[in-house]
Amino acid sequence: MRAIIGPNGAGKTSMLNVINGFYHPQTGKITYKGKSRSAMSPNEAANSGIARTFQNVALFHGMSTLDNIMVGRNLKMRRGFFWQALYHGPARTEELENREFIEHIITFLEIEAIRRTPVSRLPYGLQKRVELGRALAMQPDLLLLDEPMAGMNLEEKGDMSRYILDVNEHFGTTIALIEHDMGVVMDLSDRVVVLDYGHKIADGTPGEVQKNQAVIDAYLGVAH
């Protein structure tokens, strides 16, 4: 679990956008699973096991919790258009199998009660949880979380931290976490990267980073 921190506008979100293929970097390379390339497409990224959540919740507002998470199974379901159009035979079996898988995620995130609720009616904290659920449905190898706890109260933050740790420990998912709450960052992460003005200014264990003079200056806004 690696945290990415830095002042607002440091380029943390941009970094995730590069990794999951929304942005194509002008220079530099992305190395993932031993393969280097200059840019990914979002499709490639998703196909090779990268999932993400967004800083501003990006759920499908017209759909229920269940359907939102089911959309995350998109790549795991392969039956073609004609079977689907008929909603028959293999397509139906596949649908039911995946529906069962989704139930595990729903139980894990403790959102049984809001299964059928349209997500637009959920409070912000729960929306963030559903968004995590959608990413987990992809069974990712790398999970990118952009400020998953922004705007949450202490209790909600505690819950979210627990889910993130569980995912990391039980499923062995690599996690890149952007977070502003330093307590959470220090607790959860194995390593911390610090960005400032689009540059990496530190990379180390939470303890090392905390003592780093460049980091302290960046956060205090010392002139460059």
């Binding site: 979002p42 959309v71 689907q84 449905a137």
Partner: protein, 319 residues
């Protein structure tokens, strides 16, 4: 003045009351027309929802599909085989539009894509004429096994007569909408389609391929167009004039909202029935043929009170 008010406000209702069988007949005719408007509007909504494109070519797709079907049959292809081949042609059209129009123009402003669909319209007119000729043709309803003739009901002290082809049209349209509803609601691709309509970025992040979705919606809209073309062609004939009728879908969309499938269906029925009643009972007062503009008039009035349409979400202007 008093007499005019009577003619406009009272007399039409007296007529409806005095000849109820005729009134039912009028509603039925309007309803059948409305179903066909609904189908055209449905084609617009599908494409608009999934790709944000207002597809000017929807009307010509109806003509092109019907023309292909009739044209292939005229070349000696058996009717049902021609139907299958026409479906294949609509699939090829969907792939071509995605590859040659949408993909190169992705991330361009909406107006550019709209212009591109105008281009597509003129291409399809020219291409259709080149292959099958421009003169009006007769729909091959009999060869396709569609019923003809009418069923009469003795009710309300008179006679109500329903064309069998119209009854078939309503059943086929209903079945198609039901299949689409299940498809959108319960299948992976249907969900992916709704996801793309809701949030492009989030949809991309779970690995949904926009290209696939675009092909699927354009193909689905093509099938809807083919169905509309067969039904409409069977009532009049298959000619390029038919595409004008597609512009009746515009008031339907204003009424129903550009992104709502139930809106398209209900809007189509309201316009269809409304304009028929207006034409028959109020038309003579102004010398007839108000059918050509009444729909727009209804839509304009409606627009003043509910700009988001019947089922559309309330528009909130963010500043």
């Amino acid at each position: 003045m008093g007499e005019f008010a009577y003619m406009v406000l009272i007399d039409p209702f007296v007529q409806m009351f005095e000849l109820p069988d005729f009134f039912v007949q009028v509603i039925w005719e309007g309803f059948v027309g409305g179903v066909l408007y609904s189908l055209i509007a449905l084609g617009f909504v599908l494409i608009f929802k999934a790709s944000g494109v207002f597809n000017f070519a929807q009307g010509i797709m109806v003509v092109f599909a019907a023309l292909t079907l009739v044209g292939l049959n005229a070349m000696g292809v058996q009717a049902h085989l021609a139907l299958v081949l026409t479906v294949v042609v609509m699939l090829v059209l969907a792939f071509s539009v995605e590859r040659l129009v949408l993909r190169p123009l992705v991330n361009q402003p909406d107006i550019i894509l709209f212009m591109a669909t105008i281009g597509l319209t003129y291409f399809l007119i020219g291409f259709g004429e080149l292959l099958f000729g421009g003169e009006p043709k007769i729909m091959i309803s009999d060869q396709l096994g569609l019923p003809s003739g009418a069923v009469d009901f003795d009710i309300l002290g008179g006679l109500v007569s329903l064309q069998k082809i119209d009854i078939a049209a309503i059943f086929i349209a209903g079945a198609m909408v039901a299949v689409l509803a299940v498809f959108f609601d319960k299948t992976r691709i249907g969900r992916a389609l709704r996801a793309v309509a809701d949030d492009h970025q989030a949809a991309l992040s779970v690995g949904i391929s926009l290209s696939t979705i675009w092909v699927v919606v354009w193909f689905t809209a093509g099938i809807v167009a083919l169905t509309t073309g067969i039904m409409w062609g069977a009532r009049s004939d298959v000619s390029f004039a038919l595409q004008i009728v597609a512009f009746k879908a515009l008031p339907v969309l204003i009424l129903g909202g550009f992104t709502s499938i139930p809106g398209a269906i209900v809007g189509g029925l309201i316009i269809g029935i409304g304009e028929k009643i207006g034409e028959v009972y109020w038309g003579p007062l102004v010398g007839g043929s108000i059918e050509s503009w009444l729909a727009y008039f209804i839509a304009l009035i409606f627009l003043m009170f509910r700009p988001q349409g019947l089922f559309g979400e309330k528009i909130i202007e963010r500043v």
